[in-house]
Amino acid sequence: MKRLTHLQQLEAESIHILREVAAEFERPVMLYSIGKDSSVMLHLAMKAFHPGKPPFPLMHIDTTWKFREMIEFRDHETRRLGLDLIVYTNQEGLRAGINPFDHGSRKHTDVMKTEALKQALDKYRFDAAFGGARRDEEASRAKERIYSFRDRHHRWDPKNQRPELWNLYNGRINKGESIRVFPLSNWTELDVWHYIHVENIPVVPLYFAKERPVVERDGVLIMVDDNRMRLHPGEQPRMEMVRFRTLGCYPLTGAMQSTARTVPEILQEMLLAHTSERVGRVIDHDGAGSMEQKKREGYF
């Protein structure tokens, strides 16, 4: 047995999973969230099916509140790689004017992310959806399978998961049921960045420190990405040297003060900082065990 480095071993496992799903399912799709994990997942898919293209489309659930640079990056990358991209927005939610300011992070996420995802999966009848989630992100993820079974209503039942032994994933489902697949399950945030560094994978520039207009809300720095941002009376955006550790809807994503302009500098900062990444996500703080609840309801 050849001695592979940990990154090579993680890569091998992910490629194995990507190929399994492509071979086993009728209509797989890759959920592409434009973040660093999605970038790595996409890079692995390109490797897995070389010299061909990944035999499935990418899908982005667009809440319409993503950072502008994310959308530019998304369109640029999918064009560069010549891949099919589906962009889906919950039109009912859009018509109802659901937004993070009036409806709060919980409602906004429910309607524009979780509900939108379910609608899109139903509309295109996808039977397997890749996601870039990692087990090190959050406690409820630590127990999720690589092939995570979902019932007809896209629900996850943490108490009734299929045992997963060796690399023998059970991909058998009945009509209407589906599987969420997590090829990066065993990667850590550090692995992801290190792999981006080693493989020179493009990521959204928002991950790198730059002077950006921000306001401070409840101790969280929020970037004013467009004129939909509701400023409080007298509130003035100020320019700060910041970067993002995770990316999502801009009013719900906290920036961190940083001077890291390169991937090694990001790694350096992470290694010395000792704070986990989900801190920047407002939705995780809705209550103890909140992620587990969201996942039961169908959130990725």
Partner: protein
């Protein structure tokens, strides 16, 4: 640790280059909450500087301080300057994942944890230890190279320890680290440790561990977990983390021959046809001859394609795409091997199976088997014996309930390529999938292949239930139908007054049987009087005909292999005798549900007694029509003075004594 932080600060590129060379170790931790398993993992993470500040903060919010809280100052992480002392934190909470589990204070599933040191990255599969979680432990162990098994120093080697060790060895883990924990509670006594170590080594001699180390630890105080203990100078060996950082696992897989299960046929355009997969053992070079299993066609490797360019050779465990010189038919599920060193190929094999389904494994029932990249239907022909997970003793078994392990013979509907699990876990393992629910119900490890024309198998085909050969040449017998269900059919005939509790008991019995995986049917007034017998009245003649038809239907169901439960007053001896006469002697179990008339009348669940007393109903049994109690029922249950549970227990005991009931063992 400090030097590392300094390197990260001063030369991140040098650090990253060093980190890039790190390899990966996957290990499992076995033990129960009481053994301090979560505390041990928490300690490993914490003392090696792998706990994030915000996780610690979240912990402080949620964790319930232990009654005997940690001694202040005892907890100081290597990189923990920035962290408050862990004095008020229960480190176990670092690893207890799901909300519901945290509330129950137990770990019910496999949780994965990640940490790294300067030398290695680690993936921990954290598994629960109780016997009902045997399957979870096997799941976690299936991808691990090493196991940490906890022993409570106060208790020594328990049946739990033996169970954990057995499961770990069953799935082929060769490196075992036995953490004798809570040494602080036995005064760090060397003698206690030595006695446990001697006991364990004696027991584990036959388990196949090539590398066994015992370490005295106190997870709570950090002794010998990451750092050597000052309390136990008599122990000169490595700490747990030192072992984890240095253990060598690349040679664990013994098979050196090429095994390449084809995952995916890559045809991006007409000029390229590649076979994508992971090399699971051995190596492949450009120009090597290869043979396809099961077709046995041969060709040569034309190219080894990867995104980084073509390779001259590749080895396990690398993922590659192979192209061949010849256009031969190859699809997903096939395996490429070297013609001089082929894998086994066949439809019959002996294997150890760990059962995970709620319903027991029953010989003869069709399941879907997945091995490598292939799905194939098949059955377990027979269970040679069951292995007690606590004592490793062998017992005969007709079926395998959940969390039980058996040595079994499999018969697959088409040939598959395989190796003995001992030589090559990746090509010697399989899972069993329920064909209807699609749930993963079992995990298997192949011991050896069996030749189809072996005399013993021919004999089985003549007598056993597997017989896809025999099915075409004679009628399916009653015994064969029952055999497929893995049960002995019979009629449980409940007789007694209205209100005596027949229906309640019948329902409870059916549910209990169903839970044990039995195929049953309950006949009662509701499903018979409204359909089959709706033309009959309640005259004596009508009643007799009613029971006669029910008897005939029950007989047909017994013929179909079912356990039939009936719940009718059936007041007359003669009609019950009639039913008894149409089935075999041992297939009719008469159960007299005996309750005094006053009790039945007081219960009067359907208001029938009241209406009979009022004269609205004529010829009501017990009021103006006689009930003839059985002279010699197989069982008499007095429901007047006992609970449904007690009555049910008597019923199950009867079925158990008659060899009808599937036991827990």
């Amino acid at each position: 640790m400090v030097a590392l932080a300094e390197l990260i600060r001063s030369d991140i590129h040098a650090y990253l280059q060093a980190r890039e060379r790190q390899d990966l170790l996957r290990f499992i931790t076995c033990g129960s909450v009481d053994d301090g398993k979560s505390t041990l993992i928490g300690r490993l993470l914490y003392d090696s500087g792998n706990v994030f500040q915000d996780h610690l903060e979240a912990l402080r919010k949620t964790s319930v301080p232990l009654a005997q809280s940690q001694e202040a100052g005892a907890v100081q992480g290597g990189q923990a300057q920035g962290m408050a002392a862990g004095g008020e934190i229960d480190l176990a909470f670092l690893v207890d994942g799901l909300q519901s589990e945290r509330e129950q204070g137990i770990t019910i599933d496999v949780a994965h944890r990640y940490f790294a040191t300067a030398r290695r990255k680690f993936i921990i599969a954290d598994c629960p230890g109780h016997v009902q979680y045997t399957r979870n432990m096997a799941t976690g162990a299936s991808t691990a190279n090493l196991a940490i098994i906890l022993i409570d120093a106060r208790k020594g080697v328990l049946s739990q320890t033996r169970r954990h060790s057995f499961i770990v060895s069953l799935v082929g883990i060769r490196h075992a680290v036995i953490a004798v924990n809570k040494m602080d509670l036995v005064d760090h006594d060397q003698e206690v440790f030595e006695r446990i170590a001697a006991d364990y080594r004696t027991f584990a001699a036959g388990l196949g561990f090539t590398d066994l180390t015992l370490v005295p630890v106190s997870a709570k105080h950090g002794d010998n977990v990451v750092r050597r203990s000052a309390h136990m100078p008599w122990y000169q060996g490595p700490s747990i983390l030192e072992l984890l950082e240095t253990v060598e696992v690349t040679d664990d897989v013994q098979l050196q021959a090429l095994r390449f299960p084809v995952q995916y046929v890559n045809r991006p355009h007409l000029d390229f046809r590649g076979f994508a997969g992971t090399i699971v053992t051995g190596q492949v070079r450009r120009g090597d001859p290869v043979m396809v299993l099961p077709s046995k066609r041969t060709s040569r490797v034309k190219s080894i394609v990867t995104a980084a360019g073509e390779l001259a050779e590749a080895s396990a465990p690398e993922p590659v795409t192979l192209t061949l010189e010849d256009e031969i038919d190859i699809s997903r599920g096939d395996m490429l091997v070297h013609p001089a060193e082929p894998a086994g190929l066949g439809t019959l094999m002996d294997a150890r199976i760990l059962w995970m389904g709620e319903m027991p494994l029953v010989p003869g029932k069709p399941y879907v088997f997945r091995t490598g990249t292939k799905y194939v239907r098949g059955t377990v022909v027979r269970i040679d014996y069951q292995i007690d997970v606590n004592t490793q003793e062998q017992h005969p078994a007709e079926m395998l309930p959940m969390n039980h392990i058996g040595q079994c013979r499999l018969h697959l509907n088409e040939p598959v390529a395989f190796d003995p699990y001992e030589l090559s876990p990746k090509t010697g393992s399989f899972i069993l999938i329920d064909a209807i629910t699609n749930g993963t119900v079992g995990a298997g490890m192949i011991i050896r292949g069996v030749e189809v024309d072996a005399p013993e198998f021919v004999a089985e085909i003549d007598t056993g239930p597997v017989t896809n050969v025999v099915w075409h040449t004679h009628k399916v017998s009653k015994a064969e139908r029952a055999g497929l269900k893995g049960q002995r059919p019979c009629i449980v005939w409940l007789t007694g007054l209205s209100g005596s509790g027949k229906s309640t008991l019948a329902n409870a019995l059916e549910q209990a049987l169903w839970m044990r995986g039995h195929h049953t049917y309950l006949l009662d007034g509701d499903n018979v009087r409204h359909g089959l017998n709706k033309d009959l009245d309640f005259s004596d003649a009508g009643r007799v005909e009613n029971i006669r038809r029910i008897g005939e239907v029950a007989k047909l169901m017994v013929d179909a292999g079912l356990i039939v439960i009936t719940a009718f007053i059936s007041p007359f001896k003669s009609e019950r005798a009639l039913v008894r006469s149409i089935v075999n002697d041992d297939e009719f179990l008469e159960v007299y549900v005996d309750a005094p008339l006053e009790v039945c009348e007081a219960r009067d669940p359907k208001g029938l007694f009241r209406r009979a007393r009022a004269g609205e109903i004529r010829q009501f049994t017990g009021i103006d029509s006689p009930y003839e109690p059985p002279d010699a029922p197989e069982l008499r249950i007095q429901t007047g003075g006992e609970s449904v549970e007690e009555s049910l227990r008597s019923l199950l005991a009867l079925l158990g004594a008659r060899g009808i009931l599937r036991g827990e063992k």
